[in-house]
Symmetry: C2
Subunit: 377 residues, 2 copies
């Protein structure tokens, strides 16, 4: 078997639908219900006989179920392809990896751009406001469907880390270990503020039309603005300096408002690329879920509750969007609750993006942690 045979290779997104009957609908934190709900998901590796090798990978605000391998006709691999595969951190030789698109998303799972069967039209703003807990509930249904009762681990960066923490808060007995990366157990007011400016950019776009834009022009100006601002927060000062410094695209100032600096071109490029692949209403719903998320303190592990879950918490020193102090807050609480906890602050210049880029360091940390968890079964 050569190395290529061990690669994940081509993958396809699968779909699971539930809640077609009222009794089976997903009950949401808001008190509303929704059904039917479809969840897009991918799996990598093989489920072992006693179903004890399952790792759930959780994605960020703008990612999807396609975490690893390749889709036919697309040269780009999954968003965490460096981390998932034969011999990698999440080793598909050993583990069965599941990654699903979040509820409220636009990449295979039911969200505001999905057709509401009651009306035959896209939900738009009639889609109920959902939370990170609701996303985890939908995943739980998927795992029930796959016959998986317990997770060896659940991991993700940024919003993915929040979902991982939510799994502990919701189903501690089902989670043997958790690896939250570059995340927080609740957003700070600065994070709330950035989210609100992103949403306002979308909602102030005349094409947004209170969310009813699916038959016409889309609010691309607003969505691209939100994305441009987002990109600033994903990088660090140091990585921007290294990547762009004050370099000019055309050698000299144009004395105009055209793109002069390379960093301006980068923001434009990414803003324009994003609107082709993401739904503006999903951006609103998912950022709102981020705002509402709060599993701080006893909400993470209920008082007088003993749980077996083991924690590996990772943060990055130049990440100013989800700074290390937010990870330390979680770690301090876990230690006060005598929880088996490993914490690592990784030195990196990549800012929040580090969790997608520092895969060598992450691999070293995660690989051995997962081996320990596996051996302790």
């Amino acid at each position: 078997m050569n190395k290529n045979d061990k690669d994940i290779g081509f993958v396809e997104t699968g779909y699971f639908t539930f809640g077609e009957e009222e009794w089976d609908e997903l009950k949401l934190e808001s008190g509303q219900s929704i059904g039917p709900v479809t969840i897009g998901y991918e799996t990598y590796g093989e489920l072992n006989k006693d179903k004890s090798n399952v790792i759930l990978i959780e994605h960020t605000l703008t990612h999807d179920a396609h975490a690893a391998g390749f889709h036919k006709g697309d040269l780009r691999g999954g968003w965490w392809d460096e981390m998932i595969g034969w011999g990698k951190a999440f080793d598909t030789e050993k583990y069965f990896i599941v990654c699903s698109n979040v509820l409220g998303g636009c990449k295979g799972s039911t969200g505001p751009s999905s057709i509401n069967p009651a009306t035959g039209k896209q939900y738009g703003l009639t889609f109920p406001v959902i939370t990170i807990k609701d996303m985890v509930e939908a995943q739980k249904r998927l795992l029930d469907h796959l016959g998986i009762e317990k997770l060896l681990s659940v991991s993700g960066g940024s919003m993915g880390g929040m979902q991982a923490l939510q799994w502990v808060a919701s189903y501690p007995e089902k989670v043997r270990s958790v690896i939250p990366i570059a995340t927080a157990w609740k957003q700070s007011p600065q994070q709330l503020a950035f989210a609100e400016v992103g949403r306002q950019a979308i909602m102030k776009d005349p094409n947004w039309k209170n969310g009813n834009y699916y038959d016409g022009e889309k609010p691309e100006s607003g969505l691209s603005l939100a994305r441009m601002m987002g990109h600033i927060t994903y990088m660090s000062e140091a990585s921007m300096e290294e990547k762009f410094s004050r370099r000019l695209k055309n050698g000299d100032y144009s004395f105009s408002f055209d793109v002069d600096f390379e960093v301006e071109g980068y923001l434009h490029y990414n803003g324009n690329a994003f609107v082709k692949r993401f739904d503006a209403n999903s951006y609103l719903y998912i950022t709102r879920a981020l705002n509402y998320f709060d599993v701080s303190g006893d909400k993470l592990i209920r008082p007088n509750r003993e749980i077996d879950t083991k924690f590996l918490v990772i943060s990055f020193l130049s990440d100013w969007l989800y700074p290390s102090w937010q990870s330390r807050e979680i770690v301090k609480f876990l230690m006060s609750r005598q929880q088996d906890t490993t914490y690592c602050e990784v030195q990196s210049n990549y800012g929040h993006d580090a969790f997608l880029l520092e895969y060598e360091e992450e691999t070293r940390l995660i690989k051995h942690f997962l081996e320990r968890i596996t051996n302790e079964k």
Copy 2:
């Protein structure tokens, strides 16, 4: 004389116009010229006999010539009223203070919202792109008009600090001392990026109409968005936590996209207030001037040039928009050039706003520095 008699009290903005003839126009860095140019300005205190007590105060992106005292009918004092007045840091008992609105602004000085005498209509985007150097040239004309040949000091925070540094670069022999606060000698790529997102918010607003909006609806959505984002960068994580934390306006989540968190309400309030007092095109022009500013290294003091100017550089530890390392860069250069330099990193939680709020600490530093400069004459 009681304390109130020493207050600055009511002030009025004065106006000086030059460049009405072609030979007298302002030559700009872009190679273009502009005239006539009006500069709005205020003065506080009395000019002494030998005109040796003049301090020039420079304002930020969104401030104006009204730095101290009160305008009739307006209960709010000038933007640096805590710093300018009898017995204050910039002591009007001793010094003659001049503050002028920048070229390109919308508060009394000629800018894109001014009437172009050649057309009888607002300049809009036909206004030439201006630089910090051009702003200083316009101020130089004002000082010439006032008969002032030498400055005891020039000071300002943020963009005001850039103008102060530009004075040294342009006219070192006219500047006995400089007090740049919370500033940089060139913008970092992160600062360039925030500026570009702010401009794009304005330029993507359909009411912007390529800058020709003066007869109709103004691009208020875009300008308020730019301002909301700006406010995030002016505060620190710590000051946001103290001021808002995750407090809710109405006690519970609304499960909607309405304002739930106090920090959201704050951004909306400030965005809406800003559009009533500021011109969107001025925002474009002035942020572009910030982008183009660069007096790093030998551009600040030419090689083999000895100058007498003394420096007091002040930064604030929680300021992440103009972080202390940018001030340290200036200080290190000044020390390498054997320049008389004092540097202070002030401990503060207020972020970039600190230069407007930490006036007690600033007063201690500036008062004694100015006394030293005065005594050394």
